[in-house]
Each structure stands twice: as structure tokens, then as C-alpha cells.
Symmetry: C2
Subunit: 534 residues, 2 copies
């Protein structure tokens, strides 16, 4: 982000000399000292192997949480850990270090894409090079195991079964952060991993801006008497029909179905093996059809981004989204700014009613819009309305800091969680399954991830404002049910660049100004003032 927070740039890029370059033909490196052509060939070779490993690892991880049989957990972790070691060896060898340095200085002979590859590979390498391979692979083993343990713990609502895993995840995450930069705040490193050039200072300021608007707005909404009463979308919705609806939503969102594998999981996610292969892992709750709808639009937004990356980047390190913040900007954009808009409601209810004629045939777009935007303080983040949503994120942001600083351990989390839900949302947490066990992120090792959800909301609002400022009839596009103009705007300015541009640069170019939280707070104010006639 371009706000005035400190940035993290202290990582060493010096090659260490203890490992060698496993896959790159040995003949290349020595000859290459005066031979940029050979260096470029070595770069291509490096990228090919990283691609194959990335393809394998994303697949193995994604399937692990969705289709793998229960007994396979440990073997999967072992395979992933070994692939992780191989990637470590590939990237962190002294030869790769020297290769990337030589290529950096030979920028005149590189295409812009090659220059970007070198820059991103150097960054990826800098993140790994000071972390011993066995420390990194132990973390891979741990997060694989703990994701499986979390799933069981959540099923039983048993925090104590997950607790030791969380302590180990925090401890190992901090160890990795300290290897990378012993002088930095480990949590700053984790935040930066999820969104380049962010830190606690950045998010403290950002969340202060958000709270300044959300807290009084929420108070006004809760004082209002509008948008209450029973929802016309309550009831029981058959699971297998909901899966058919999920497929319809993929089509409505404009995803290419020939590129999507849809499967089920405990906590929804999306990933992309290449721009031709997105995985959407969703879930279906028979008592909540809107959860299915907004999960699909959300994960579909991630998939649109992954599949919108220039296919030329597929077999390079530039493949995929540039950061979690920009990823969540896309997913939350399609979930909320499109999906929870009044303009899109007629298209959405049309598709929903096709699968549930009896239950939804008479629900009006206005009723859907009201139901999807009803402000309700309730315990589940992914089901939250847009107004309470950032408060769910702040709870996690605060607890993560306590864990990483050592001020709290996993055993304290349920209490910390309950206190904050009471303070910020005024509600009691019903149980751990609907409390601190609700999200998979910590179990999968993702500390510092949650803040990017709120940041993504804010980036999305700024992108929408830019679309409209450029003359797009945003509501008209949503109302038409053909989201192509929005896709094309985002593809040309964000998606196609993959990892070759950072969020700061993308936002600046797309919006003509640096990131600002103002669009987000304006969006919320305008939307909820109208909805609740404040």
C-alpha cells in the first residue's frame, strides 16, 4: 500500500553456498558468466521445474482438504514436505542466487516479462534463503497435519484438540520469521507476506479509519427499525439442488466451466493450478441457501482472478494473484459489490428460483436485496453483512498479535474471542465450532492473512469507483446479468499482470491515485444510509 507506513526491505538476498542447483543442467552455469543467452535458458529451465512443483503442491494441498481419504494425511504431508525441500534447493542454491544476480544486471537483454520473473524470483528466494530447508519443510508437515486436526476438532467443537497445533504453528511461524529477519517484528513479516509493503502500522491506521465510520454507522443501523422481521429466504434447501445452484452460479458469474473443478470442503477456498484449472471448494448448508450463494460468488471471484492471468505467465513464477489483499479484493468484489447490489438482485433471484421454484418463485429482487444486506451481529465471519464484516476481521487481527507477541497462547483464544465478540458485536459466542474454530486459516499456517479481507473490501470499493469514474454504467452491467464489461476492466488492469505487478502499482495505474480507504468507508456509508433510511 502507498500509505506512509514503514516497509520491510531488510531481507538478505545473498546466496548461501551450502546447496546446489538440482535441475538446471550443470553446463549452463559456468558458461553463463559471459553468456546472457545461456542464463535466460537457465531461467526458463528453473521456471519449468518450479511450475511442475507448484502444480503438484497446489493440487496435493487442495485435494487434501477436499477429496483425500482420512488415513492419507501423514503421507500427503511427507510428499508435500519433500517437494518443499526440492523447491528450497532449487531456489536457494548459490547457483540460482548468482544466476538471478547476473540476470538482474543484464536487464537490457531481458524482455519485460523476463525482468519481472527475475524480480519475483529474487523476492521468493529472499523469503526462503535464510530459512533452513528442514525448518520450512517441518512447517509444511505441521500445517498439513493441523488442517486435518482442525477439521476433526471443528466437527466436535473441541478447541482443546486443536490448541496444541495452534501453539506449534505460532511458534514455528515466528521461528521462520526470525530466520528471515531477526530485527523485524515477526507479525510485520507475516502481514507483508500476505500483502506486500504492509505492516502493523499500516493496518492499525487502516482499521482506525474503518472503525471511525463503521462503529457509529452500526449503532445507527441497530437503532433503526427497518429491514427486520422474518426472511423470505429462510427454510430448508435440499443439498443436491444447492450443488446444482452452485454450478449455475459459476455460469452466472461468467466463469469458464471447462476450467473449474467444483468440490466440497469444510471451509470454502479456491486455488488455481494454472489459468486453465481453478479449484472451487465450497460447502452447502441446508438451512442457509444464501451462504451457498455468497460462498460461490466469493470463491468464484478468486477463480476469475486466477484464470484471468495472462496465459503466457502459466509456466512462470508470475502465475497467479499478486497478493492475498488483491485476491480478496476480487473475491469480495464479486461477493458484495456485485453480488449484494440491488442491481444484480433480479439476476440472482432468477437463477436461485430456477432450482427452488416452490420456495423462491415469489421472492422479489427487493426482498433478496434486503435479506442479503440485513445487518445482523452474528458469530460467523463468512456469513457477515458488509458492515459488521470488518469487525470480525479486527477480532482476528488483534488475537493474532497477542499470539505472535507471546502475550497469549492458544489456550487463551476462546476467552479472547468471546470478549471481543461481546465488545465489538455485542454477542455471545455460542461454542468454539462457531467461535475460534470457524476458520481454517490458522490451522493451515496462515497468520497475517485475515486483515487482507478488509483491505480487499477497501481495494474493491476503490476499483468500483474508478470503473464508474471512467464512465462504466456499473449498475447497468450488473442488471444485464452479463458481467463481461467488469471482467474486462479488471482483466486489463489487474488480472492479466499476475504477480508481475504489486498491489500498490496496480491500484495506482487502475485508479489514477494511490490506495485510499475513503472509497470503502464512503461505500458503506452510502449503502447503509440508504438501506436503513438513516
Amino acid at each position: 500500500m502507498s500509505m506512509d507506513q514503514p516497509t520491510l526491505t531488510g531481507f538478505s538476498t545473498d546466496p548461501d553456498a551450502t546447496t546446489h542447483l538440482p535441475f538446471i543442467p550443470q553446463a549452463v552455469s559456468p558458461a553463463a558468466l559471459t553468456n546472457p543467452k545461456a542464463d535466460i535458458a537457465a531461467l526458463d529451465e528453473l521456471e519449468r521445474h518450479l511450475f511442475a512443483h507448484r502444480y503438484a503442491s497446489i493440487g496435493i494441498t487442495s485435494y487434501g482438504e477436499t477429496i483425500d481419504p482420512e488415513a492419507a494425511t501423514a503421507d500427503r504431508g511427507e510428499a508435500l514436505a519433500i517437494l518443499e525441500e526440492e523447491d528450497h534447493a532449487l531456489l536457494c542454491s548459490a547457483e540460482t542466487g548468482a544466476l538471478l544476480e547476473r540476470l538482474s544486471s543484464a536487464s537490457a537483454v531481458l524482455t519485460p516479462m523476463q525482468a519481472a520473473q527475475v524480480r519475483i524470483l529474487k523476492r521468493d528466494r529472499a523469503r526462503l534463503v535464510d530459512v533452513p530447508a528442514e525448518v520450512q519443510s517441518a512447517f509444511t508437515r505441521l500445517t498439513n497435519e493441523s488442517s486435518a486436526a482442525w477439521q476433526k476438532a471443528k466437527g466436535k467443537g473441541d478447541w482443546s484438540a486443536f490448541e496444541p497445533y495452534l501453539d506449534r504453528i505460532v511458534q514455528q511461524s515466528c521461528e521462520i520469521a526470525r530466520c528471515r529477519n531477526p530485527h523485524a517484528d515477526p507479525y510485520d513479516i507475516m502481514l507483508d507476506d500476505n500483502e506486500h509493503d504492509t505492516s502493523r502500522a499500516f493496518y492499525d491506521r487502516f482499521f482506525a479509519q474503518v472503525k471511525e465510520v463503521v462503529v457509529p454507522l452500526l449503532a445507527d443501523v441497530r437503532a433503526s427499525r427497518r429491514n427486520q422481521g422474518p426472511s423470505p429466504l429462510a427454510g430448508r434447501f435440499d443439498a443436491s439442488r444447492q450443488w446444482e445452484l452452485a454450478r449455475d452460479l459459476i455460469a452466472l458469474e461468467g466463469l469458464d466451466e471447462r476450467k473449474v473443478f467444483l468440490t466440497s470442503t469444510e471451509h470454502p477456498f479456491s486455488d488455481g493450478l494454472t489459468s486453465n484449472y481453478a479449484i472451487i471448494a465450497a460447502h452447502v448448508l441446508e438451512d442457509d441457501v444464501l451462504s451457498n450463494v455468497y460462498t460461490m460468488l466469493h470463491e468464484g471471484g478468486h477463480a476469475l482472478y486466477e484464470m484471468g492471468v495472462d496465459p503466457a505467465l502459466n509456466y512462470t513464477s508470475l502465475k497467479g494473484g499478486t497478493s492475498m489483499g488483491m485476491h480478496e479484493a476480487q473475491s469480495r468484489f464479486f461477493e458484495n459489490i456485485v453480488g449484494r447490489s440491488a442491481a444484480f438482485a433480479p439476476r440472482l433471484i432468477e437463477v436461485m428460483a430456477r432450482r427452488f421454484r416452490g420456495q423462491l418463485g415469489r421472492v422479489t429482487p427487493g426482498q433478496l436485496y434486503a435479506a442479503a444486506n440485513r445487518v445482523v451481529a452474528q458469530p460467523i465471519r463468512v456469513d457477515a453483512d458488509e458492515l459488521t464484516y470488518p469487525l470480525h476481521v479486527i477480532v482476528r487481527y488483534e488475537i493474532e498479535q497477542l499470539l505472535v507477541s507471546g502475550e497469549a497462547t492458544a489456550a487463551d483464544v476462546p476467552k479472547l474471542w468471546a470478549e471481543r465478540y461481546k465488545n465489538y458485536l455485542g454477542i455471545d459466542v455460542p461454542n468454539d465450532a462457531r467461535g475460534a474454530l470457524q476458520d481454517v486459516h490458522w490451522a493451515s499456517g496462515a497468520l497475517g492473512y485475515f486483515p487482507t479481507y478488509a483491505l480487499g473490501n477497501a481495494i474493491g470499493a476503490q476499483l468500483q469507483a474508478a470503473m464508474i469514474a471512467e464512465g462504466m454504467d456499473f449498475d447497468g452491467v450488473c442488471a444485464s446479468g452479463n458481467l463481461n464489461p467488469i471482467h474486462e476492466w479488471l482483466r486489463s488492469r489487474i488480472w492479466r499482470y499476475g504477480r508481475s505487478r504489486d498491489t500498490n502499482e496496480l491500484v495506482l495505474d487502475a485508479c489514477g491515485e494511490p490506495f485510499s480507504a475513503r472509497y470503502y468507508t464512503d461505500y458503506l456509508t452510502k449503502k447503509y444510509t440508504a438501506l436503513y433510511s438513516l
Copy 2:
């Protein structure tokens, strides 16, 4: 096999010196000249990396045919080809060659398991070392692409769409065989790959023995008037209930459900990532419930074998079944010798009727037994009764030889197919989808595989005879519905050894005598003489 056919032993095991050892820490090799401990550590390291690649490749390949989105085919092929190159580099480097030679001569310090690992790795290496990495990986790319092309071609019944792929597969398979041994018949090499120490001479003799019994027996059966009339199992069986039945059959067969991922595909198969993770890819035909039942029992047999391997072998090259012949021995054993027995019929109809009470509630075990063993000359191999089955295999065996020798090209196959189905089975092939396009094997590059089905039948019959000779009440076990005694017999004598013993040795030890086709021909004679009162 222990019959008097020539065996193939001409492969070079000399290391070539053009590649290096990518993953094994370089420090190990030089020191190891006088240091067996370091060599054993290097062996473990090599095995770890081969394990991770095997895990990734089996997963990527299996999911490719079952769950991957259509557009991902080329990217998947690229990832697989690169992993293939890495394995080639790992196994074929001069360092690995030297390591394995040193370990071979240091057998005194090796455990029996390590000695077996070295032996199998040397054999795997010998198969690859004279094949250029790019030739091998081009074949991986081709078979990935052609499997997808086959699926489309089969859907449309369009042989011409598949034809060019088959020609390329034959051509590249022969090229690989010639690299390995320019003096051997390429088809002998392919047969040996699927079952060690087999060749055309072996199978010619084996099939002659089979035909000698099957052809007159089939003539007698067809002259008989028994077991005709409409089947009580005809009708339409709801697909989603059939999938529930498929799960019940996994349990009935005694598979550990926590280790199985069940999915759907065009042509059923099974594979095992480790002994804790089997994939069963099955299919469901609404007009043929028996197809589902016997597909599941067949693929479940493969899965039992994979999961019955000693878990200690999981992360080594000894993991998995020793050969396709022994694999088909297990699958065809559970499909036929157990699954199509009169003794097992009460258990089977019980499970089937639980899902299809209305349609099957009144079907007797005797009726199921008769329907499952009705001899019908029809065009589909996987649906064939045990008596006509080997004739389906012989058709493929003969056509493969014509393709490999160059006496025929892919364009000739439909005609060759039709002639042989007319000659051997007396039927007209209705179309290519139910003719030469029915099996995925050629599309996936598996030439020389089909004969192992018939060989597997024969090995299975010999194993059953040994069980009974040792005093097992085989029919009693089947009738009890608890197949554990059969599992334990096979586990202790076959499964647990994984690849550490070849079929010859396993059969000799399990049965107290070398392989003999007599048990198979006796089994068929006895079964069909009784069934048809000949």
C-alpha cells in the same frame, strides 16, 4: 513366469555420464566410496524424492482422468512431463548408477529390505537409462493428451479422432523399446514391462492352453439351453443409489473406507498413492447394475493389493503391486472367484437389495449367480463372463502385435477388431465406441497390458487352489460375508511384499509350485460344466 519361455535380460545397467544427481546432497557421493553408511543415507534420500514424485504423478494422472476440468489437459501434461524428466535425472545419473552398484556389492551391510530396494531401483533404472529424457517425457505428454482425446472420441464413437494418437503411441513406444534394447522384439519388451519374464513365446503358449479348453467349452455352453430367458436383474437403476451401492460394496469387500477415494470416470481404474490412499474410479450405468457391482469388486481387488503392501515400504520403490499380472490376479480374483461364486451370491444380493428393495428384494442368490455367470457373446470386455473373457483379451493381444510389428496401422484396427469378434465370439461389433474405443489402455500408452488380465485370471485360480489345498473352507468364507481369511492369506503371501518379490517367486512360495495354467482351465471347466449341466 516359470514356464520355458525366453526371458529378457539384455538391458544395460551401465550409468551414462551425461546427467547429474539432482537431490542427493553432493557431499555424500564422493565420501561414500568407502562409506556404506553414507551410501545407505543416500539411498534413503533418493527414495524420499522418488516417493514425493511418485505421489505427485500418480495423483495428477489419476485426477486427470476423473476430476480435472477439461481445459487443464495440456498444463497437466506439461507438469507430468517435467516430473518425469526429474525422475529420469534422479534415477539415471551416473552418481545414482555408481551408488546402486556400490550398494549391490555391499550386500552384507544391507537389510533384506534395502537389498530389495537396490535390486528394484537398478531394474527401474535399467528401464530408463538408455531412453533419452526428452523421449520419455514426450511420451508422457502424448499419453496424457491422448487419454483426453480418447475420452472425447469414445463419446462420439469417432475412431478417426483417436486414430492419429494411436499411431503416435505405437511409434513412440517402439522407439522407447528400441532405445532399451535394439535387438529385442519391442512387443516382448512391452509384455515384460507389464509382467516380468514374460514374452510373446510365453503368452502364445499360455493362450493356446486356454483356447484348447475354452473353445470347445464355449461351443458346448452355446449348444446348451440352460441359463437363458430374461434376467431378473434387468431394468433401470438410479445412478445416485448405485453410487451408494458402490460404497456398500467397498465395505462388503473389506476395504478400509478411511483409505479410499471413490470417484467416477469413463473407463474404471484404481491406483494407490500409498498403502493409506487408494483411488477407485468407477462408473455407473443406469441400465446395468451388474456392471457397477463387478467393476467395484474388480477395482476394489486392486485397491486391496495396494493397501495390503507392508506400510514400511510406503516411502520406497518397493511400494505397490509387483506387476500388472499379479495386480489383475487380485482384481479378477475378487471380481470372479469370490464375486461370481455361488457361495458369495447371498451376501451380494443382500447388499444390492438394501439399495434397490423394490427391484431386487425378491431376487434369489441363485438367480443372481445365474445372471452373473450367464455366458453371452457380447462386445464389451469388462462386462464379459469368465468363459468368453479370455477371447476378448486374445483379440487385443493379436492386434497389438500387428500394430507393433508394423503389419497394421491404427486405421486398420476397426476392421481387424470386427473380424476377430466375428471369428472368436461370433458377433458383429455395433460401433467403435463399443468396439476398439471401449478400453482406455492404448490411449494411456499401455501396450502389452491386456494379456495380463488373462494371466491374472490364471494366477488367481492357482491361488484359490492353494488356499483350499491348505485347508481353507473357501466357500464358507465367501458365504460368511467376512472375507478376512482370504485377505490374510493373500496379504501374508502376496500383498505385503510389494515390489520386493516378482510374480514367479510369489507364486512358487504361495502355491508350492511354479505357475501353471491348469488351475485356470480346470476352474473354468468345472464351473461351466456344472452351471450348464454339460
